[in-house]
């Protein structure tokens, strides 16, 4: 029974992705594009050469962390829509420390990363506290926290970090995660050390969830808060802690952009979507760290490959967004796929 369960946990995301791709092909056909050229351009754009691969991994990096952020909260039955805001404050804090502190790399870089994590953690702590103590639903609070993050960050960029400019200066080299070695290996893509950090964090999160008393408590609270209280666990503490860790992961995702890819932060007209996409990544990855890594890679390659579609096949990038949306749609409606799978297996059993 458990093996069956595990198998469908793997099968459902794969079927969802395939259905999304098929639906995307149909849309391309209907709109008068050749889906085969379209998809081969997409593939080329994501994996066609070393540069493309480097850029794909670079894009994947923050998705791993924002996906982990959402997935971790999900394990406590909390829906952290605020990953987006946590990414933004993490990004801002990382750049801020990167610009303003003078220190050798061995202190400066960890400090900037830690700062981003703490900023995200604070952004997660507030909804966690409100949920635990007053029962305010975390979805509402985190949505609002996203706007607070977006607009205060823009304000700080304009009036604190710069003098009415839209982009900050670049961070000092001692705070940068960019890597000559990784970059030159991939024809000077923007690939940076962040991917190693992201993978390392994924392992840590797996360990916390599966092997520690903290993970045991957080999952128990997520599954059944009443039984957890009965068993002597502090439900409020665990809710807050889950949101704090989730927020810290979101903040780290922001640091990837601030210290790795861009080295600065610009005024944003809208959300970065790294946090929001993290929701889809977590869903697709079934809230497990390994699943999140694979789902993040899929998202990274789709987004990166999309750049090649207009030039390589004349397909507008919007179509890639449609395909991604369709994949999420099919994942979210995994109930239907599960039902179909059960029926199919039932018939075979007969």
């Amino acid at each position: 029974m458990t093996t069956n369960h595990k198998r469908s946990a793997i099968l459902i995301p794969i079927i969802s992705v395939l259905l999304g791709i098929i639906a995307g092909a149909i849309i391309m056909l209907v709109s008068g594009y050749n889906p085969i050229t379209g998809y081969s351009a997409l593939f080329r754009g994501a994996f066609g050469d070393a540069y493309a691969i480097g850029e794909t991994i670079r894009r994947t990096t923050p998705y791993i962390l924002s996906g982990l952020a959402v997935a971790f909260a999900f394990r406590a039955s909390l829906f952290n829509i605020g990953a987006e805001g946590q990414v933004i404050v993490g990004w801002l804090t990382a750049v801020w420390i990167g610009i303003s502190v003078d220190a050798p790399m061995i202190i400066h870089l960890p400090l900037a990363i830690l700062g981003a994590a703490i900023a995200g953690a604070i952004w997660g702590f507030i909804p966690g506290l409100l949920k635990a103590k007053l029962g305010v639903h975390e979805v509402i609070v985190t949505i609002m926290m996203n706007y607070i993050a977006l607009f205060s960050t823009n304000e700080i960029i304009r009036n604190v970090l710069t003098d009415h400019k839209t982009t900050t200066e670049s961070i000092k080299d001692s705070a940068s995660m960019s890597s000559e070695w990784l970059s030159s290996m991939t024809y000077y893509s923007r690939l940076h050390y962040g991917i190693l950090l992201a993978l390392f964090v994924a392992v840590i999160i797996w360990f916390i969830i599966e092997r520690t008393t903290l993970g045991f408590e957080i999952k128990a609270v997520g599954f059944n808060p009443h039984a957890s209280r009965y068993a002597g666990m502090n439900v409020s503490k665990n809710i807050i802690l889950a949101m704090v860790i989730s927020g810290a992961l979101g903040g780290l995702a922001g640091a990837m952009e601030g210290l790795g890819t861009y080295g600065n932060i610009s005024v944003m007209s809208g959300f970065s979507n790294i946090g929001f996409d993290g929701i889809a990544v977590a869903l697709l990855g079934a809230n497990t760290p390994l699943g999140v890594i694979l789902a993040a890679l899929l998202f990274g390659s789709l987004k990166e490959g999309a750049n090649e579609m207009p030039t390589g096949a004349g397909v507008p990038t919007e179509l890639v967004d449609i395909i991604i949306a369709l994949i999420i749609f099919f994942v979210a409606s995994s109930y239907i796929i599960r039902w179909a799978l059960l029926r199919y297996q039932g018939r075979k059993a007969k």
Partner: protein, 510 residues
């Protein structure tokens, strides 16, 4: 005599198991026919086949001699089969009438619901069968027993000729049970037929005409109730001799373990539920708390275990003040708690059996060290517990959700008892379980007592209270109103005490 319903040689398979294996059930017109079996024996499956929720692989169904195919519940309804569910399907803020007509509303010419006509019809039905239901009352304002009658009315209103009662007495007080028995008798007198699903032998002997027994999916046979005995029924159901009397020596109470002084507790709606309760439980005795549900028992347990705040008063465990301490503090002071609602409190259903076994001890060595779990040790311990407490599960990694109720309860009892608590609180430990599991649980409680532990038993089953307890504290309106010895009292007296009569008056009624 003609049969209203005949289920002949029904076989229903699920992947991996045969839930019903060649079962035959024939219901005569105007009889009360009991369907007896342990939990998981296949009673519900059989009834779901009759209700059209499952299609049988083999066998057929005849209604009044006509062969029928019941492919969905609407067909069952049209054939005059009605079900009184164990868990009521009622809309709380609606009135009795609104609930009964729901989905089958009578309309006036202009298309509005004709509530007046419905009320009149329901009142007539209620009078005819002696149900005494007020059609205009709101569901949330009436007692559980009354709600059940609304369910009965619902099936009658829809023209049911055959009523299926699914474990109807599980939620009722002794007095309500007697009233229900009368109602069932008046229903059959009016020509209805009844299938009574139960695993309570006393009720079958009291009210049923015939009884069909199933054991592990197989039909064992049908007996005339007048020609059988309780122990014969029990051994037919379980497949072996069952010991009804709880085997125990007189208690040898020692020092006081639990002492409660003038306790006041409020429920979630801020209503006083425990109002100045005093109670003492000593080592080596089982104190049973008898009372009708809703007289403060739940709040009392939650207060002792730290799940609810105490307004005033004092709770001492081994002379240590545990009033308003955290559940973990209290557990560590020597409390074991078999909770009333095992799904809500007792288990994390999505956790494995092994994980549930260490639900309160996971943070201690050897199960973890410096915050890191030792899974090997956890599952080694779980395997030991599974065999020690006879928890039937494929393995320790199986989710608690997929275990049967009895095995879930055995897992909880094992976990709570194995910590060697000085005080063991067992709240309705046998609710919904069959005689085999009940026997096991009662034996464990007595064993714990004999090891010198204090046991506090809360139950709505008077049989259980009388059989297992060494001392009975009757709870009424938030207070202990009487302290009696089981050998010096009986069900009638307890029933009256539970309803608030004074001890002396109750004594006169004996």
């Amino acid at each position: 005599m003609e049969y209203v319903i005949e289920m002949l040689n029904i076989t229903k398979e699920f992947p991996g198991i045969v839930a019903n294996d060649n079962i035959t059930l024939q219901l005569k017109k105007g009889e009360i026919h009991a369907l007896l079996g342990e939990n998981g024996a296949g009673k519900s499956t059989l009834m779901n086949v009759l209700f059209g929720l499952y299609q049988p692989e083999k066998g057929h169904i005849r209604i009044r001699g006509q062969e029928v195919e019941i492919t969905n519940p609407n067909i069952a309804n049209d054939l005059g089969i009605g079900m009184v569910h164990q868990h009521f399907m009622l809309v709380e803020p609606f009135t009795v009438t609104q609930n009964i007509i729901l989905g089958k509303e009578p309309k006036t010419k202009t298309g509005r619901i004709d509530i007046k006509r419905a009320e009149k019809e329901i009142r007539e039905l209620s009078d005819r069968y002696g149900l005494k239901v007020d059609p205009t009352a709101k569901i949330r304002d009436i007692s559980v027993g009354m709600q059940q009658r609304v369910e009965i009315l619902k099936t009658l209103y829809r023209g049911a000729e055959v009523l299926i009662f699914d474990e109807p007495t599980a939620v009722l007080t002794p007095q309500e049970i007697n009233e229900l028995m009368d109602i069932m008798r008046s229903l059959v007198k009016e020509g209805k037929s009844i299938i009574l699903i139960t695993h309570k032998l006393k009720e079958i002997l009291q009210v049923a005409d015939r009884c069909t027994i199933i054991r592990r999916g197989k039909g064992i046979g049908t007996v005339n109730v007048s020609e059988t005995t309780e122990s014969e029924l029990a051994s037919l159901m379980v497949g072996r001799e069952v010991n009804f009397k709880v085997d125990k020596q007189p208690a040898k109470p020692k020092q006081t373990v639990l002492k409660i002084n003038n306790l006041h507790v409020r429920d979630k709606r801020k209503v006083d539920m425990v109002k100045g309760l005093d109670l003492e439980v000593r080592a080596g005795e089982i104190v049973g708390i008898a009372g009708v549900d809703g007289n403060g028992q739940s709040e009392l347990i939650e207060a002792i275990t730290g799940l609810t705040r105490v307004q005033s008063g004092q709770i001492l465990l081994n002379d240590q003040d545990i009033t308003n301490k955290s559940p973990r503090k209290i557990t560590e002071s020597g409390l074991g708690h078999i909770p009333q609602d095992r799904h809500k409190f007792g288990l994390v259903l999505d956790y494995s059996v092994g994980e549930n076994m260490v639900l309160q001890t996971y943070y201690k060595e050897p199960f973890s060290k410096r915050g890191i779990l030792n899974l090997k040790e956890i599952y080694r311990y779980a395997k030991k517990m599974i065999s020690a407490y006879d928890v039937r599960t494929p393995d320790a990694y199986t989710k608690a959700r997929s275990l049967s109720g009895g095995n879930q309860q055995k897992a909880i009892i094992g976990r709570e008892v194995d910590r060697s608590p000085d005080l063991l609180i067992a709240a309705q430990p046998t609710r919904g379980l069959d005689v085999g599991a009940i026997e096991f649980i009662h034996k464990k409680l007595v064993e714990e007592r004999d090891k010198g532990r204090a046991v506090l038993l809360i139950s709505f089953e008077l049989d259980e209270i009388l059989d297992v307890s060494d001392r009975i504290a009757v709870m009424f309106d938030g207070k202990v109103v009487a302290d009696v010895k089981p050998e010096e009292t009986n069900e009638q007296e307890l029933g009256l005490l539970m309803a608030g009569s004074e001890l002396q008056k109750a004594g006169e009624g004996k």
